[in-house]
Amino acid sequence: MSNQESAVTRRLQSVKHIILVLSGKGGVGKSSVSTQLALNLYKSTPTAKVGILDVDLTGPSIPRMFGVDDKGVHQSTNGWVPVYADGPTARLACMSVGFLLKNKGDSVVWRGPKKNGMIRQFLSDVRWGELDYLVIDTPPGTSDEHLSLMEHLTGVHSKLSAVIVTTPQAVALMDAIKCVSFTRAVNLPVLGLIENMSGYVCPCCGEISNVFSTGGGSELARKEELRFLGSLPVDTELVSLLDGGPSGQGADFTLLARYEKTSSATLFGEITGGIMQGLDRT
């Protein structure tokens, strides 16, 4: 076991920051936040190298969001080559179990030990190269995947930090509190909390409806003494963009340009600023 652990450590030696995106509840927007975070970090400097790892093994969404769900992973002598969402520029590397499935409708029915093995391989066998940021998108809950991640990443614990995503409803907030308890139990520094889906602007009359109520996130952050990074309203443009599937023109990487036009991009810019400040401090 110990030499496998060091394989992970060796591989991730060249990664500067590892950011885990967590949430107790499913469907609050972890994957869309991870995607946005990766895109924002990517454009933060012209040379920033970003990796995104999807450890949601039974429900991978990252390939679809980056519009690369028709791509596959290649094997090289130095490990698996991740899928580069920005084509030949090769500054945005994605890895997900979705790339390994023959048919995207196939279910991955795995119990814990197998998931654990896959995560270890993702961390030790993928040729990430030099990365400024590695964003890890997790499945909901606090179970096998999360424990495995923490276990395998022990060697690089000083690079780890987490972002917690929630929506304003009571049910999601309760799960977010559990998630905060988890980060304390495993001694994982939390960069801050993001409230997603807070409010929806009616396209016909401009009225803001609180589809899932509002304000719960900042309240939770205050109580738990976490930094509140910001709230993101429901943005149908973003939903369509990330749901759109392959753009067909991988080479010129239109996703970023189209993303910059959405209203979320502006809001997320500030959130990214907060996250980067937090990273500098650690």
């Binding site: 039974t58 790339f99 029915v109």
Partner: protein, 325 residues
């Protein structure tokens, strides 16, 4: 492209110990203790001796307990946050609205139990009696069991790996004094993993009447539902149908309808056609649904005028019709 590890061809729900190697064949397999992966495993000698191949001793007890339950329905969805728990609660309330229908709700989402909050019984505790754990009653004919009732504080996170979760699920089936039930609704966590395999394995002998799959209209959710349908077919669970949640939003101000989650690939309707599954109905997004869930009240009773209520009731009628009740 390399095929590194494919999903197991036919999931053979097996008990894998926590310290098992990655390719553990399962303690009940013929290869237990003899396969390549077993070399070096702490359990190898136990597995090789054959004692692990006897069926789970809990199974006869589960069978006895479940003999009193007429209908067992799973609520599944590959994706999280699409409304599984909300739908389970509404279905439960709808069944329990008939006074002599005994309904049970079992929440097997161990790491994120939402059912207690949605039903407004988050502060309740489970009591044990000589006949087992007593479930929490929302009303006389509606019993609920969730791990949420067993935590000292709602802040506590349950950080359990698979085998521990499986143990608790088995206890929920074997040790809870459900009494005679007409319906047992099982609310599941997202995905296709330990909890799902376990519930299928434990209820194999008693029989599952079917599964209701919940989705939202976007492709990201539909992708996960396709996987869930694949899972149901692999393990042989009958799919009662598909429910599309959060389809369309009616603005409370101008009454104009808009699509928050656009069905870019044809939504649940197309998926149902493609996969040969019945579409039970679509429920529009009503902000009052979320609010009712936060306050733990029945949406159907509170807002009988909402289009979502009509949609829910139609779906529930369809489910009853399919089951032949």
């Amino acid at each position: 492209m390399i095929a590194t590890q494919m999903a197991v061809p036919a999931p053979d729900p097996k008990s894998i110990p926590a310290n098992a190697p990655e390719h553990c064949p399962g303690t009940e397999s013929d290869l237990a203790g003899k396969s390549e992966a077993c070399a070096g495993c702490d359990n190898q000698s136990i597995c090789a001796s054959g004692v692990t191949k006897v069926p789970d001793p809990a199974l006869p007890f589960i069978k006895a307990r479940m003999a009193q339950v007429k209908r067992k329905i799973l609520i599944l969805s590959g994706k999280g946050g699409v409304g599984k728990s909300t739908f389970t609660a509404q279905l439960g309330w709808a069944f329990a609205s008939e006074e002599d229908t005994q309904t049970g709700i079992m929440d097997v989402d161990i790491c994120g139990p939402s059912i207690p909050t949605i039903l407004g019984i988050a502060s309740e505790q489970v009591h044990s009696s000589t006949s087992g754990w007593s479930p929490v009653y929302v009303q006389d004919n509606m019993a609920v069991m969730s791990v949420g009732f067993m935590l000292p504080s709602s802040r506590d996170a349950i950080m359990w790996r698979g085998p521990k979760k499986n143990g608790l699920i088995s206890q929920f089936l074997k040790d809870v004094d459900w009494g005679p039930l007409d319906y047992l609704l099982v609310d599941t966590p997202p995905g296709t993993s330990d909890e799902h395999l376990s519930i299928v394995q434990y209820l194999k002998e008693s029989g599952i009447d079917g599964a209701v799959l919940i989705t939202t209209p976007q492709e990201v959710a539909l992708q996960d539902v396709r996987r869930e349908i694949d899972f149901c077919r692999k393990v042989g669970i009958r799919i009662l149908g598909l429910v599309e949640n959060m389809s369309g939003f009616v603005c409370p101000n101008c009454k104009g309808e808009s699509q928050i989650f656009k069905p870019t690939t044809g939504g649940a309707k197309k998926l149902a056609e493609d996969m040969g599954v019945e579409l039970l109905g679509s429920v529009p997004l009503d902000p009052r649904i979320g609010k009712s869930a936060d306050y733990g009240v029945s949406f159907l009773d509170e807002h009988p005028d909402s289009p979502a209520t009509t949609a829910y009731l139609d779906i529930i009628d369809k489910i009853k019709e399919i089951l032949g009740d």
